[in-house]
């Protein structure tokens, strides 16, 4: 029986960027939905709307995480646990590219909070 491949770990690592993206989307969507339902969107902290601030901070954290995955995949190959050299050559760049794409997607998801009001429905 050959050495165990740690398939689940590797797949999770490979798609880590996308998983962070999904978590970010779930969080900001959920938060905004709750903020509008329970009307705490207007609460303010340091002069900024609370949920705007939270979404902004969470976006920054998610971006940081994406960059972390990216830099790990690019530089710290050994630490990624990809196993053999061949798999590393294949999965490492995929991990990095996915993290990069996810970072763009997270950024896009985070930006509207600066422009679009939180709770108004369509057409005002």
């Amino acid at each position: 029986m050959p050495m165990r491949e740690r398939f689940v770990t590797r797949i999770l690592l490979m798609t880590a960027g996308l998983i962070i993206w999904a978590a970010h989307l779930g969080f900001v969507y959920g938060l905004n939905a709750l903020a509008c339902t329970f009307d705490f969107a207007r609460l303010e902290l340091f002069g900024m709307a609370l949920n705007t601030l939270t979404i902004g901070v969470v976006t920054l954290i998610a971006l940081g995480a994406e960059l972390l995955v990216l830099s790990f995949a690019v530089a710290g190959r050994g630490a990624m646990g990809f196993g053999g050299e061949e798999q590393l050559r294949f999965m490492g760049p995929i991990t990095a590219t996915l993290a990069g794409l996810s970072a763009v997607a997270v950024l896009w998801q985070g930006l509207p909070v600066l422009v679009v009001p939180a709770c108004t429905g369509a057409g005002g």
Partner: protein, 286 residues
């Protein structure tokens, strides 16, 4: 956006054609991973970022509408529109149906509700659509800049007669709008003509008042459209037919044929003369 889309489309198709017609050595530059990165990642990220940013600002533009000068509650029902003009305190000034008149150039807030299933309120020439969802109140503020008649249509499939659920939005000069609104608030005209009185009596005697209201008469039903000024509306059957005595008569006599499934039964039992009289009466309610 369409131009940009067309350009991108032409670019992609053009490149594909090039790969087929160019000799191999002149298209080798296309056959590398960097082209995929440039065309598949860098280019779309740049274009989409711009587009998305633009979209956010347009979205915000839609939100920051001015204070409305008029508030109209529109309730989608299978398959017609109940329209209520509200006063400052939110009370109902008057009700009408399947036709919305607004003063041109003034922002109007539409308060959109549903009485049964999901409908969607849409006047294509004036604004995008917004759904009417049971248990939810959506509001939408927009204005019609130029006087005119704009057709509206239910945009969310709502059952058998979704296709025949339209309305007209009439933008009027503010002055004539006020006159119209005042007229609408009045009860139904009571004409002296014998024929019309005869028609009105038949309207009541046939039980039309169980579902319809004609203010100023014993007809106070709330299930169907308010008919107090039906003769002055552009259409009957929710944009299905133009209002004239003939269509009114045909509608009353064969609703289930003209618009199968509507709540109103066909009054095919009415005698020809009576049918005509009721139609004439309704036509006179301007």
């Amino acid at each position: 956006m369409f131009t940009g889309g067309a350009l991108i489309f032409l670019l992609v198709i053009g490149l594909t054609v090039l790969t087929i017609i160019l000799p191999q050595e002149r298209r080798r530059w296309l056959a590398q991973q960097n082209v995929v990165i440039a065309g598949g990642i860098v280019f779309p990220v740049a274009v989409l970022s711009l587009l998305l940013g633009y979209g956010f600002f347009v979205t915000r533009g839609h939100v920051g509408a001015e204070e409305p000068t008029l508030r109209i509650e529109v309730i989608g029902e299978q398959w017609w529109w109940r329209v209520r003009y509200l006063d400052e305190s939110g009370g109902v000034r008057f009700a009408t149906a399947n036709e919305i008149r607004v003063p041109a150039g003034e922002p109007v807030e539409f308060i959109l509700k549903s009485a049964d299933v999901i409908h969607s309120f849409w006047v294509p020439s004036l604004a995008g659509k917004l759904d009417m969802v049971p248990g939810k109140v959506n509001t939408y503020t927009f204005s019609a800049d130029k006087p005119g008649v704009y057709r509206g249509q239910c945009a969310e499939y709502c059952g058998a007669q979704h296709a025949l659920m339209a309305f007209y939005l009439v933008a009027m000069e503010p002055g004539s709008f006020d006159a119209w609104a005042a007229g609408q608030a009045d009860p139904a005209w009571d004409r002296v003509a014998a024929e019309l009185k005869y028609g009105r009596d038949l309207f009541i005697a046939n039980g039309c008042g169980a579902c319809h209201t004609v203010r100023g008469t014993p007809a106070t039903g709330d299930l169907g459209p308010d008919l107090t000024h039906v003769g002055g509306r552009l259409s009957i059957g929710a944009g299905t037919l133009p209002t004239n005595i003939g269509t009114l008569a045909g509608w009353i006599s064969s609703t289930q044929h003209v618009k199968p499934g509507v709540s109103m039964p066909s009054f095919g039992n009415l005698e020809s003369r009576d049918l005509r009289a009721i139609a004439a009466y309704l036509e006179s309610l301007e």
